[in-house]
């Protein structure tokens, strides 16, 4: 059992930053939504809106990167597609979440909190898959 060919790069460093960057922002959005529903302090709603907006910048660029990877065929088979689909789901739900957070005062809840939970979970999954396994399994 010996590997001869160079293993393909798992993820480009910049793509990694974009992918991983969305996670803490969506997570912060979720915590802010949680705080808002518990305190009715409207500033938490503003924080959530901005954190989600920031996460959308990272998600959008990461999504674009994986799409290009897919089209150029440089993505790892399977992983690349799963990562792209997760990012697509994050982008669509994140955008809906942005619009929900544009509603005034408590009009953003409880939908905002629910969506924040979902996009945070998706961000964890996408980051996990995107970063996983530097090992390359080679058939005997």
């Amino acid at each position: 059992m010996a590997t001869t060919a160079d293993p393909p790069r798992v993820i480009h460093p910049l793509h990694a930053v974009l992918l991983a960057g969305a996670l803490p922002l969506f997570l912060g959005g979720f915590f802010s939504d949680w705080a808002y529903t518990n305190t009715f302090e409207v500033q938490w709603n503003n924080f959530a809106a901005w954190l989600i907006a920031g996460a959308m910048v990272f998600t959008g660029l990461a999504l674009l990167w994986s799409l290009i990877d897919l089209l150029r065929g440089t993505a790892r088979r399977g992983w690349g597609l799963s990562c792209f689909l997760l990012l697509l789901a994050m982008f669509v739900l994140g955008l809906i979440n942005s619009f929900v957070h544009a509603r005034d005062a408590f009009g953003s809840q409880p939908q905002g909190l629910i969506l924040s939970v979902i996009v945070t979970a998706l961000a964890i999954a996408a980051t996990w898959i995107g970063f996983s396994s530097l090992r390359v399994r080679v058939r005997p």
Partner: protein, 456 residues
């Protein structure tokens, strides 16, 4: 966010708004019992912004037997007018507000909404218009006072001219025939001005002139800037003209954009703009007699006990105490002017109020963009409204003007301030016997003024 996802967000907003435009039928929302549909929380609120165009040869449409002329153009955003006893007209010009942008939404919505308003510089002044020979042409034009801070409401009581700036109620001494204030104004009292989301300060005076009423709008649509920002907001203040002391005359009255004192009874009436983002047919703006001590629901509920759960924490006691307004004007019409009529306006329009409707921005099917007449009987609204000045929004979908303040000249004219084309329009009965007579028999400027000339 600002650079990258703005175009995407805007594109999606348009797409979503396009498929969500189903429930836009105009409901019957006039009168004391308007239909109130279920609340809708659209993903993207509809926005249909006025698409401005110059008037060119076109004119607003008025009923048969009336004629409309532009008596002043090129103003610095005219909002409200006041007819002085000698027939001179004061025009309050300016743009206030300027609240900081707080959320991603504020950047997007602010940019879109600005497309439907004038871009000229804020006048921050009072312009005086004079028709010395009474021929209906206001050939005289002087700046009565300038360097004011977004003046809006005006009232003349005896020899004192009161002006409600966006941050203070001030007064000038006024002599009949004066074309320029003799000095800077004296502050009667400061007015709530922090943030100033709804910045317009409307004004009227009690018949004896001892009390002044100032309408102060809420600091948000529905408390999205927090409850502390709503201290002394969404209220009508009663101010002692002599001392400047005030008390809250009415509360929970979201944005009382114009006040008028009813001739005869001395009752204060208001037109009030209600909350947004509950759908195209919620919540109707309204005309109401402002009752002493009444709570009108904002932010907890609307039109009585219809709870708005966006305002949290809720207050069941306040909801139970909320009174219903007198007369619905329709949702999102943005009523910004109200004036009691006079017999000189002609028999059909003698008893009632005129209401200037600036027009909607968050509704697929535009509403407002006209001046209506609400007929009164026995001092109360009676019957459906009648269109009085229309055509501000053309059949081509372009908007040429947006009415704000309306004022009745007791000599037989309705003045309409138009803050999109920066014009003051004057509507008179054709060959108007009362107008022409009054104009010729009253040589302006007149020295023997009646004591009070509040903008009835």
């Amino acid at each position: 966010m600002k650079r990258i996802s703005l175009p995407a967000a805007a594109a999606l907003a348009t797409a979503l708004a396009a498929c969500g435009g189903g429930d836009n039928a105009n409901l019957a929302q006039y009168g004391d019992n308007p239909q109130l549909p279920k609340q809708q929380h659209a993903l993207v609120p509809s926005m249909k912004i006025a698409n401005p165009a110059p008037w060119g040869d076109q004119r607003p449409a008025v009923p048969q037997g009336y004629v409309v002329t532009a008596i002043a153009t090129g103003l610095g955003i005219p909002r409200q007018t006041l007819v002085l006893p000698n027939g001179d007209i004061l025009v309050a010009e300016g743009r206030g507000g300027g609240e900081p942008r707080l959320r991603p939404k504020d950047f997007i919505a602010g940019y879109i909404k600005a497309k439907g308003t004038t871009q000229v510089k804020s006048g921050n002044r009072l312009t005086l218009l004079r028709d010395a020979d009474g021929d209906g042409t206001y050939e005289g034009r002087t700046i009565f006072a300038d360097k004011l801070n977004a003046p809006y409401g005006m009232a003349l009581v005896g020899d004192q001219l009161y002006v409600a700036n966006q941050d203070a109620l001030v007064r000038f001494a006024y002599r009949p025939g004066q074309t320029r204030a003799s000095g800077p104004p004296v502050t009667v009292t400061e007015l709530p001005a922090q943030i100033n989301h709804h910045w317009t300060k409307s004004l009227t005076a009690s018949p004896d002139g001892r009390l002044l009423y100032v309408g102060i709008g809420s600091n948000s649509n529905i408390t999205e800037r927090g409850m502390p920002a709503e201290r002394d907001r969404a209220v009508v203040w009663e101010i002692d003209a002599a001392t400047g002391a005030h008390r809250s005359y009415a509360t929970g009255i979201r944005n009382p954009t114009a006040l008028a004192t009813q001739p005869g009874t001395g009752q204060v009436w208001a037109v009030v703009n209600e909350r947004d983002e509950l759908g195209p047919n919620l919540v109707p703006d309204y005309l109401t007699a402002v009752r002493d001590g009444a709570f009108y629901g904002w932010p907890y509920s609307y039109w009585g006990q219809n709870v708005d759960r966006r305002a949290q924490p809720q207050n069941a006691q306040k909801v139970a105490a909320a009174v219903r307004p007198d007369y619905g004007l329709g949702s999102h019409v943005a009523a910004l002017g109200v004036a009691f009529s006079a017999p000189a306006m002609g028999a059909r329009f003698a008893d009632g109020v005129f209401v200037g409707e600036h027009g909607s921005w968050n509704r697929d099917q535009p509403s407002g963009y006209k001046v209506i007449f609400v007929p009164f009987r026995n001092g109360r609204p009676a019957g459906p409204p009648v269109d009085f000045v229309t055509g501000f929004r053309g059949a081509d979908g372009r908007t040429r003007g947006r009415p704000v303040g309306v004022t009745v000249d007791p000599r037989g004219a309705l003045l309409v301030a138009d803050d999109l084309s920066n014009t003051v329009w004057r509507v008179t009965p054709v060959g108007g016997p009362p107008a022409a007579e009054a104009a010729t028999t009253v040589p302006p400027p007149r020295a023997d003024q009646p004591k009070s000339a509040t903008p009835y």
